[in-house]
Amino acid sequence: MMGVVDKIKELDGAKITIQRENRIFVDVDKDRVIGTLYSLKLMGFHQLSVQNVVDRIKDGKFEIFYVLYSHEYKINVIVRTWVDRDNPVIETADKIYPSAHTWEREISEMFGIKVEGNEDCGKPFILENWKDIPPMRKDFDSVKYSSEHFVFRHSEGENE
């Protein structure tokens, strides 16, 4: 019988890196993400542990990754894809993994990534009245934002 690792290796259009025995990276094009996730779910990776983004500002890309876990094989599979920073659009994965619905709301707010098919993205999630560029982007200047939005407290508070 074919092992699950061999099955992962046969995924279409994916670059496989086996970093450790139980940690496999699957790098795919943006268009193949949903298909790859579906195939992996069918193989037994039922859990989406984390979906998040790394801002690769020097390359001009956002790295979007999905950490999947199989309780059967005790393996983590990390599906990675890259989108342009200028026009970051991905497709929703909430039909395959329902928990992705909330993760996607978070990344769309924190990184300004547009998620097609997830109608809740764009609604306020954590931030209140946010008018600046999304705060987790690396070109966001947190010191400048703090200085502009918060009053400087001069007096030493009598707190005891």
Partner: protein
């Protein structure tokens, strides 16, 4: 379909739960007890105000601009004279703080911690900003760790020649950083500028280290020349008080600021493109007596201010103690030529082999020039009135070092005794070790030092002592010289020494006492005295010398701009009290006097 039947069971069965009454519960009995928080909880800050040095690195790293540096005296007084510290402490605004703890990770002293306490309420928004302190009695949670830290605590290793290699010649023993090493070392700098307080010349250390990191060595040297006209020399022989103040000392190795300076200057063949721009000529003339670091520094800065400067130097080389005293293995001649040549290229005239009082009269200088700068230094050895001192084989360190460095002396006897425990004594001992290696292959030779001070208070720097030990110098700490022992032919047989009881008395003044009954003889046939230097004002006419005021410590009195009690006569270098006896203080004095002379010449006084 099968129907499963359950057993009826005993009516006592519910009593089984009684056993749980005596087990430790997993739940927290709120409000009788509180849930313990995690060990590395990141709550409100704690800061040990005595340990904190006010360097401001927490403020600079804060991603929310929540920290400002403020005077804590209205909450709790601190020691404002603490060395290597600013008299300010961090104030945290909890309206901004995001509790990321980067400030704690970054804190160079480890004074800043985070507590397990997060709850604080007040209707007053200003009450959410305060200076954290230990007195608030919070329990520490997140503390920094030297194992996992964003700081690079270890310094770059400097390559130097092995003891048995370097002993064979006067080749420079420190090999200098490679570009890669220098960049890595420069990367460590946090840019807080605490080191600038330690430097007598207050060089712009964070700026020039940043320029080295950016790979712009020219810009770096430009910053150096603003305060220090001999950066390459200081990059080799400086007493590097800046490194003693570097904030890295608390958790790791201080940054090698001195060697970074040397690296940047070594990359430039000359300083033509980085010199300070010259102002238009004023037509005023200034005489500088003494071509040492202080005289050179004053001359350079006065020239950039548009005055014409002449330096009078009694020796055959300019540079003062740098040229005649510091051995070649620490400071090669080409470096002196490069930096003094740069000062000459600015238009400074240096008259060598010209002794004031003999070749030129001091009074004539006063008449001929608009101002005179006295930077004669301590160029004569001090004797200790040792019995038998008048023997020709008992010499002064400053004369010995000059003979070896610029007069080409290479002979030495087989057994040499050096009296003194300072850096000059180390220079002498290590020079002797080299000469003995060159002359005799170190066969059957000895070089011993005798110092009043024991190991713990020896004035020489630790690296010099270690270097001397590696080169085979024998130390006799805590022994005081008593008399020179001669044999029947009148040659030196040795030095009789007696054990030191104490060097400083109760008032911390230099007042050595000895155990008169505890004596020994150190055998040797050549003695070098290295117990300090003094100045010689015999070139100044009597009536004028009487007008010159001295401080209680017998240094020349000068005002804040370096002017002496005689108008138009300025003084600097080792002869004034602000000097700490090293090249960098002399350079700083020279710069200060140049500003004073400029003010004087423009009649601002």
């Amino acid at each position: 379909m099968n129907i499963k039947e359950y057993e009826k069971g005993s009516f006592l069965k519910p009593l089984a739960s009684v056993k749980y009454l005596f087990k430790k519960p997993h739940t927290v009995r709120y409000p009788q007890e509180e849930k313990p928080v995690a060990d590395r909880y990141r709550g409100l800050h704690i800061n040990d105000l005595d340990k904190c040095i006010g360097c401001g690195n927490c403020r600079d790293i804060c991603p929310c601009a929540a920290i400002s540096m403020e005077d804590p005296s209205n909450v709790r007084p601190i020691d404002i004279n603490k060395k290597g510290a600013n008299p300010v402490r961090p104030k945290v605004d909890y309206g901004r703080c995001s509790f990321c703890a980067l400030c704690v990770e970054m804190c160079p002293t480890g004074s800043l911690k985070m507590s397990k306490d997060l709850i604080y309420t007040s209707p007053d928004a200003d009450a959410f900003a305060w200076i954290p302190r230990e007195e608030q009695g919070r329990e520490p949670g997140f503390v920094q760790d030297n194992e996992i830290t964003p700081l690079m605590l270890e310094a770059e290793e400097m390559e130097e020649l092995e003891p048995d290699v370097r002993k064979k010649s006067f080749e420079e023993m420190i090999l200098g950083f490679s570009e890669e090493q220098a960049r890595r070392e420069a990367m460590r700098c946090l840019g807080c500028g605490i080191c600038m307080q330690g430097c007598p010349a207050h060089m712009k250390i964070p700026e020039y280290i940043q320029a080295i990191f950016d790979g712009d060595n020219e810009k770096s040297v430009k910053y150096m020349l603003e305060d220090n006209v001999l950066p390459g020399i200081c990059g080799r022989i400086c007493t590097h008080r800046c490194q003693d103040d570097c904030v890295y000392q608390y958790r790791g190795d201080p940054i090698h600021i001195m060697w970074l300076k040397r690296f940047a200057t070594d990359q430039l063949e000359d300083y033509k493109s980085v010199n300070i721009e010259k102002m238009p000529s004023t037509g005023k003339r200034v005489a500088v007596i003494g071509g040492g670091p202080s005289g050179l520094s004053a001359a350079y800065h006065l020239t950039t201010m548009g005055h014409s400067v002449t330096i009078y130097e009694q020796r055959s080389r300019a540079g003062g103690a740098l040229a005649t005293g510091i051995p070649l293995y620490r400071l090669p001649i080409y470096e002196l030529d490069k930096e003094i040549g740069n000062i000459e290229s600015m238009g400074v005239e240096i008259k060598l082999n010209t002794k004031i009082g003999e070749d030129v009269k001091f009074e004539d200088l006063l008449n001929e020039y608009d101002a005179v700068y006295l930077a004669i230094g301590l160029s004569y050895g001090r004797s200790i009135n040792l019995k038998g001192e008048e023997h020709p084989n008992v010499v002064q360190a400053i004369d010995f070092l000059r003979q070896v460095k610029i007069e080409g002396r290479r002979d030495i006897t087989k057994h040499v005794i050096v009296i003194g425990g300072g850096n000059v004594a180390m220079d002498v001992a290590r020079t002797v070790a080299r000469l003995q290696e060159i002359n005799y292959g170190s066969k059957d030779t000895t070089v011993e030092t005798v110092s009043l001070e024991d190991w713990d208070i020896m004035p020489a720097s630790q690296e010099e002592i270690d270097g001397a030990l590696e080169e085979g110098v024998i130390f006799n700490p805590a022994w005081g010289p008593n008399q020179v022992i001669l044999d029947e032919n009148g040659n030196i047989k040795g030095l009789e020494v007696k054990k030191v009881k104490h060097v400083f008395d109760e008032n911390h003044r230099f007042n050595p006492a000895f155990y008169e009954d505890q004596k020994k003889i150190i055998y040797g046939d050549y003695i070098v005295e290295s117990v300090g230097q003094m100045y010689n004002f015999s070139f100044i006419p009597e009536e004028m010398l009487n007008k010159l005021e001295f401080t209680p410590r017998r240094k020349v009195w000068v005002d804040e701009y370096g002017e002496t009690s005689i108008p138009g006569v300025f003084a600097g270098g080792d002869i004034v009290e602000t000097s700490r006896g090293d090249a960098i203080s002399a350079i700083a004095n020279g710069h200060r006097a140049a500003i004073g002379i400029d003010r004087y010449l423009h009649g601002k006084k």
